[in-house]
Symmetry: none
Subunit: 220 residues, 4 copies
DNA sequence: TATGAATGAGGGTTCATTCAT
DNA sequence: CATGAATGAACCCTCATTCAT
């Protein structure tokens, strides 16, 4: 009934004796992320999170209140992670075409390297974003990308390298869509099409293809 | 812990007295589809499926063996449904550009009208297609769509309305991606962007946008 | 949870079309005997009896009322079978020592060849003979052996080949005990002693041993 | 369908407040022994074990994993109990005839006082020792009894009070057989013979008889 | 802070039995 | 006589959560 856990979590922490709240919290969170990624919200087991993290189950309740609390903390973390990574790109100052190309590549690579992000997004949408809506932190994490894309588009139009009238939100969703669906649904797609879409070459081809679609669309 | 059920299922069948196995099976399946759509595999409750369908719980096991059996039957049905609908489009005989436009529109509309398809695909991918892989029927449903797209692309190239070198599988995934991600993740996206992506106008705009992206990519 | 079924029952009867109540009843009974032997009363499944006998489950209730009814019918049959076999021995007229030897051999061989008898006796005693007590047929099946043993003992004493004062009931129980426990408990005994007590040679040795014990006890 | 429970178990433990894992485990085990004794493996109810022991049902799974786990623990306990009792007899040092007489008496009395031992052995053999085979503890309980009997036989032969060539395993099985079958099957036997074999006098007579048979067999 | 033990509400599944044809 | 479909009561087991230390 449960999806298999792809990999064992971080090694159980040192026996005890040490009292490091920050570390304990982080350890729980890391284990929880794996568990929720592998099994979704309903399929995840609090016992398993405790076992994986090597922390007493009671501690999970101590730090996060209840299962939903852990789940929400995980959600907030993955959003914070990707936003931080986006900021580190410093795209706004660069050549529009180069910057756009890099944004597409970054997004695609991020999805490849962070399957937990895809899985948890799917899970949260199954629940109609019920948890995310209650988060205060999320509101503060406004994706800076739409703003950056807007700037890039304007500069590209001026430089006559981009067409006019492109909606930055639609474009952002395009970039995410073309990677998300492929990665997130690669299991059923591979089954249906009878070929393994997860192979490294296949991933490379898809990356090039996405770039072609997006930049083709932007061309004046 | 569970997502709310968006709508009540088909009305409970008449009390009894009638013996219609085919109907009983179909009724169970319809209720199960709603339940799995709303709550995923782990979150779905067999009791709830029984209650919704007005059928004795035991019958679910009589017809489908176990919970996974019902789930797989649901999966097979939604795949059969979309494939049948695709076939009914009779795209192969038509003008390449028109046909492609219709395929894009059909896919987008199908996603809008069949949220269960999106949800169930997400659920099955969370489980890494474990159930779908065991299905024999799925293999037979081998989408002829790739074949049709291939034909359309060839004819479009000959007629100089499509560019050369387009991979039909990538194209099919593009068409699905651009709609799937938007619809499937509209809850978190709406939360993040602070605007409701599910409004009818928004859906219409997205549909036009997808058509533009796909046909723009195909142009020679 | 269930003990394995040692052998497949009689082949499923011809599809249908034929209506042979006597045969149907016998077929059900044969399948039930295997099922109760293999799994006890609680472990036996009515569905399995139906499947093994190739008969519709409803027929079992038609012929035997309920599960207990089938079970009791099985009990009555195995008792009738062994009593009939005992009668066919015609021991009363023969030489006392020979007759006694044959009785011992017969009993031992019967246990070997009829494991269902051992298993069902164990099952019925777990239930404190609750079902057997309600049987009217059983009362009429008084074992003739005690009477025969009494006669043999008297003639043996007169002929100075048997000692005096032997209680025929105790002797009968001795003969049965020495074989029953070995056969019935050979699984745990083999495990405890670390050797297979069910091997043909082991069975032969035990048979000789029992004869030695019983006849040794009878010697004047 | 189930045999009646002959006696109520140990009194439900004090409401709570106390945390005594060892005691909780033992309480569960005691209740389980009664339940499995009365109804066999399939007939026993986990709910009933919980109710009898006054322990939350969940605790049964906490301590023993599942129903089979409790059952195996019970099996191991009854074997350990009888082996320990045997060891306490200190037979090896005593006069061979006396020791043998005591062994016979001990075994017979043990069966009378421990009906659970008989019932559980019957149950486990119905399951072909499937559970016992998986036990590691059982191997270690290797009854030293065979060794002791061997020694007694040797010394008896030297002292010319026992005959030669007696197989200690067969002898041990004889001693057990003559008591086991009588006690274990006394319900059906009483029904068949139309007299109550469980009466105290009857038990006494059987005890004397067994001693006579066994010692008679051993006499040179 | 941290831990092992304990809890109660269900969850999936099975079973003997009966109904409608 | 015979059959497939239907029923409801339990049964084993699981899970998130809390208590006592």
């Amino acid at each position: 009934m449960d999806a298999p856990s792809p990999s064992k979590a971080s090694p159980p922490r040192r026996p005890s004796g040490e009292r490091d709240p920050e570390r304990t919290r982080a350890t729980i969170l890391a284990a929880a992320m794996e568990e929720f990624t592998a099994h979704g919200l309903n399929g995840a087991r609090v016992d398993e999170i405790a076992k994986r993290s090597g922390v007493n189950k009671r501690m999970i309740y101590y730090y996060f209140g209840d299962k939903s609390g852990v789940y929400l903390a995980v959600l907030e973390e993955i959003y914070a992670d990707i936003r931080n990574a986006e900021i580190r790109l410093h795209l706004a100052d660069r050549d529009p075409v180069d910057a756009m190309r890099e944004l597409v590549a970054f997004t695609w690579n991020y999805f490849i390297e962070h399957p937990e992000f895809l899985s948890l997004l799917g899970t949260e949408n199954l629940h109609r974003a019920r948890h995310l809506k209650t988060s205060k932190k999320i509101r503060e994490l406004h994706s800076p990308l739409v703003g950056i894309i807007t700037i890039l588009l304007e500069r590209g139009v001026k430089a006559k390298v981009f067409r006019e009238g492109v909606d930055p939100v639609q474009l952002y969703i395009d970039i995410a869509s073309l990677g998300f669906f492929y990665m997130s649904n690669r299991f059923t797609l591979s089954t249906i099409f009878g070929r393994d879409l997860g192979r490294p070459e296949a991933l490379g081809e898809r990356g090039s293809h996405i770039e072609e679609v997006v930049l083709g669309y932007l061309r004046p």
